[in-house]
C-alpha cells in the first residue's frame, strides 16, 4: 500500500449545537486512487466531502493532504457539486477562465481562454463556450464543471453526486467520459488524480471506484470499505458485464440495506432486524 495522500484522522463533526453528523471517521486515500462513497441520505457523505474541500472544519480530528492539515478551501482540490459548480451570470468559458486565473494558469487572458476552450473541447463542448450555464442541459453543465475541475489541474478531485440530477442515459455517458478522462491521466510517470466521488447509486460506485466506502447514519460513520475487483482501464459496459460486478453490487446493496433497516427500526437489536 502506497503512503496515504489524503487522510481523514479521527474526524467528528457537528454543526453549532446540533447532533453529531460524523463520528470518528478514519480514512486513508492513496495518490491516484478513485474512491467512491455511498450511503443513505443523512449519512454525512456530502459533509465529509465538504470537510475535504475545506468548506467546513472538523470539531475533533483532522484531515490532511500530503501530510499538511486542511485549514480551508484550496486550489489543490477541485470540487464538482451536484448542479451548481458554475456561476450562472458567466459564460461557461468565463467560468473556466476565472478558475484558471485563480490557479495561476496561463499568463494572459487570451492564453487562459485558449486553455478553457481546450478543456471544453475535451468534454465535447467546444461550440458552447459562449453560452450561459442556464442555456445548457444538466449533462452539459456537469461536463463544463468537470472541464473546469480538470483545467485547474488540481491533484485532488472532489465530486459530490455530480451526476445525481441527470437522467439515466446522460448519466451513463458522463460516467464513461469521467472514466476515460481519469484513466487517461493515470499510468504516466506520476500517479493521476485522486478522486473522492460521492454518490447514492451503487452501480455508479462500482463502475467508477477503485474502492467503495459505505457509510451509515446516526451518526454518520464508515461501515464498510470494499475494494472493487474490476480490471482497469474500465468502461461502463465492460464493468457491467464483468463476472465480479453482480457480487460487488449485491454486497454493497446488502450493506446498505443493513444501514437503512437499522435506521427504520432503531430499537431492534441487530439479530432481530435480520
Amino acid at each position: 500500500m502506497p503512503s496515504p495522500y489524503l487522510t481523514v484522522e479521527g474526524v467528528t463533526f457537528s454543526y453549532d449545537q446540533g447532533q453529531v453528523i460524523l463520528r470518528d471517521i478514519n480514512l486513508a486515500i492513496a495518490r491516484g486512487e478513485f474512491v467512491a462513497v455511498i450511503g443513505p441520505s443523512g449519512c454525512g457523505k456530502s459533509t465529509l466531502l465538504r470537510l475535504m474541500a475545506g468548506l467546513a472544519l472538523p470539531r475533533i480530528g483532522r484531515l490532511t493532504v500530503a501530510g499538511q492539515a486542511i485549514a480551508g478551501p484550496g486550489l489543490d482540490r477541485a470540487v464538482v457539486f451536484q448542479d451548481y459548480s458554475l456561476f450562472p451570470w458567466m459564460t461557461c468559458r468565463d467560468n473556466i477562465v476565472l478558475a484558471l486565473e485563480r490557479a495561476k494558469i496561463g499568463a494572459t487572458v487570451a492564453a487562459r481562454r485558449k486553455v478553457a476552450l481546450d478543456f471544453l473541447d475535451l468534454v465535447g463542448l467546444a461550440q458552447d463556450g459562449d453560452k450561459l450555464p442556464g442555456e445548457l442541459s444538466g449533462g452539459m453543465r456537469q461536463r463544463t464543471a468537470i472541464a473546469r475541475a480538470l483545467a485547474i489541474n488540481a491533484p485532488i478531485l472532489l465530486m459530490d453526486e455530480p451526476f445525481g440530477a441527470l437522467d439515466e442515459i446522460t448519466r451513463a455517458r458522463q460516467q464513461d467520459l469521467l472514466l476515460e478522462l481519469w484513466q487517461g491521466g493515470q499510468g504516466e510517470a506520476e500517479a493521476g488524480k485522486t478522486v473522492f466521488f460521492v454518490t447514492h447509486d451503487v452501480e455508479e460506485a462500482v463502475i467508477l471506484g477503485d474502492r467503495v466506502i459505505v457509510m451509515g447514519t446516526h451518526p454518520g460513520r464508515i461501515v464498510r470499505d470494499l475494494p472493487v475487483s474490476l480490471p482497469r482501464p474500465r468502461s461502463r459496459m465492460g464493468s457491467l458485464r464483468h463476472q465480479n460486478f453482480s457480487v460487488l453490487r449485491e454486497t454493497l446493496l446488502n450493506e446498505l440495506n443493513l444501514v437503512v433497516d437499522e435506521r427504520l427500526i432503531p430499537h431492534c437489536d441487530e439479530g432481530a432486524a435480520i
Binding site: 470540487v79 459548480s85 458567466m90
Partner: protein, 257 residues
C-alpha cells in the same frame, strides 16, 4: 413573423395605446362635450392642447433642468448605496450593529429634511440634490444588503473553492449575484426620485418638471398643470422603459437558469 413572441412584444405598447386613447376620449367627452366637471380644475382638451403648445419650450427646458438634478443625485445614491450595501453586507457583525439605524432612517420622508438641507448645503441646487440623494439612497442600500444576504450559499461555496477574495470576490460573485435585488432597489429609488423631484424643485429652482407643475398650481392654471403632469408621466414612463431594457440586459442570466 407573427410568432407568439413577437405578438406578446407588441401586446404591451398596443394595449397601452388603446387604453390611453380610451381614457383621453372619455375625459374629452366629459369635459369638452358634456362640460360636467368644474372647468377650472378639469380643463378640456380644447384648453390643454394649446397650453401644451405655448409650454413646449418651458417643458423642454424643465426636462433638461430636472435631468441635470436627477441624474447626478440618482447616480450618487446608487454608487454609495451599492458600495455601502456590499461593504456592510459582507460583514455580518457590522450589519447587525447598523441594521437598526438603517431601519430607523429608511422610512423618514426626506422632505422633512428640507430646512436642514438648505441650512447645511452650500447652494439651493445642492440642497435639492441632497433631498433626492437621501431619498433614493435608502431603498438602494437596504435592497443591496438584502441581495448580499440572499446570495445563494452554493455561489459562496463555489467562490470559496476557487479561493476568490477581495475585489475579485466582490466584482465576480457578490455584485452580480446581488444584482437582481440591487435592481429592485434602484427601481424603488427611481420612483421615489420622481416623487421627490417636485419637492426638491421647490427649493430655489427656476425650472424643472416638478417646478412647472408646482408653479402653475399656485396660479390655479390647471390646463398648464395637467400639461406638466402628462409631460412628467411621459418622461417617467420613458426613463422606466430605458431602465427595464438595461435590467433585461444585465439580468439576462436570471431568465436562463
Amino acid at each position: 413573423m407573427s410568432s407568439p413572441e413577437n405578438q406578446s412584444r407588441l401586446l404591451g405598447p398596443v394595449s397601452c395605446l388603446v387604453i390611453v386613447s380610451f381614457l383621453a376620449g372619455v375625459y374629452g367627452l366629459v369635459t369638452d362635450v358634456l362640460r360636467i366637471p368644474n372647468a377650472v380644475l378639469f380643463p378640456g382638451w380644447a384648453k390643454i392642447i394649446p397650453a401644451f403648445g405655448v409650454s413646449i419650450k418651458q417643458l423642454l427646458a424643465g426636462l433638461v433642468s430636472s435631468l441635470s438634478l436627477l441624474v447626478p443625485a440618482v447616480t450618487l445614491s446608487i454608487l454609495t448605496g451599492v458600495s455601502a450595501g456590499i461593504f456592510i453586507g459582507l460583514r455580518p457583525r457590522l450589519e447587525a450593529v447598523l441594521v437598526p439605524f438603517i431601519r430607523a432612517v429608511n422610512p423618514l420622508p426626506s422632505t422633512m429634511l428640507i430646512p436642514y438641507a438648505i441650512a447645511v448645503m452650500p447652494t439651493f441646487w445642492s440642497s435639492s440634490l441632497f433631498i433626492i440623494y437621501f431619498g433614493v439612497l435608502w431603498p438602494v442600500l437596504v435592497n443591496t444588503l438584502h441581495g448580499v444576504a440572499m446570495l445563494e450559499p452554493r455561489w459562496i461555496d463555489n467562490a470559496r473553492c476557487l479561493s476568490l477574495k477581495g475585489r475579485q470576490l466582490v466584482f465576480k460573485v457578490v455584485l452580480p449575484g446581488a444584482m437582481p435585488q440591487i435592481f429592485a432597489g434602484i427601481n424603488a429609488g427611481l420612483i421615489r426620485s420622481f416623487l421627490l423631484l417636485t419637492v426638491a424643485e421647490m427649493i430655489g429652482s427656476k425650472a424643472g418638471l416638478g417646478f412647472f407643475v408646482q408653479y402653475y398650481a399656485d396660479f390655479a392654471k390647471y390646463d398648464r398643470v395637467i400639461v406638466g403632469m402628462l409631460w412628467l408621466s411621459f418622461v417617467v414612463v420613458f426613463i422606466m422603459t430605458l431602465f427595464d431594457l438595461l435590467k433585461k440586459r444585465v439580468l439576462y442570466w436570471t431568465k436562463k437558469r
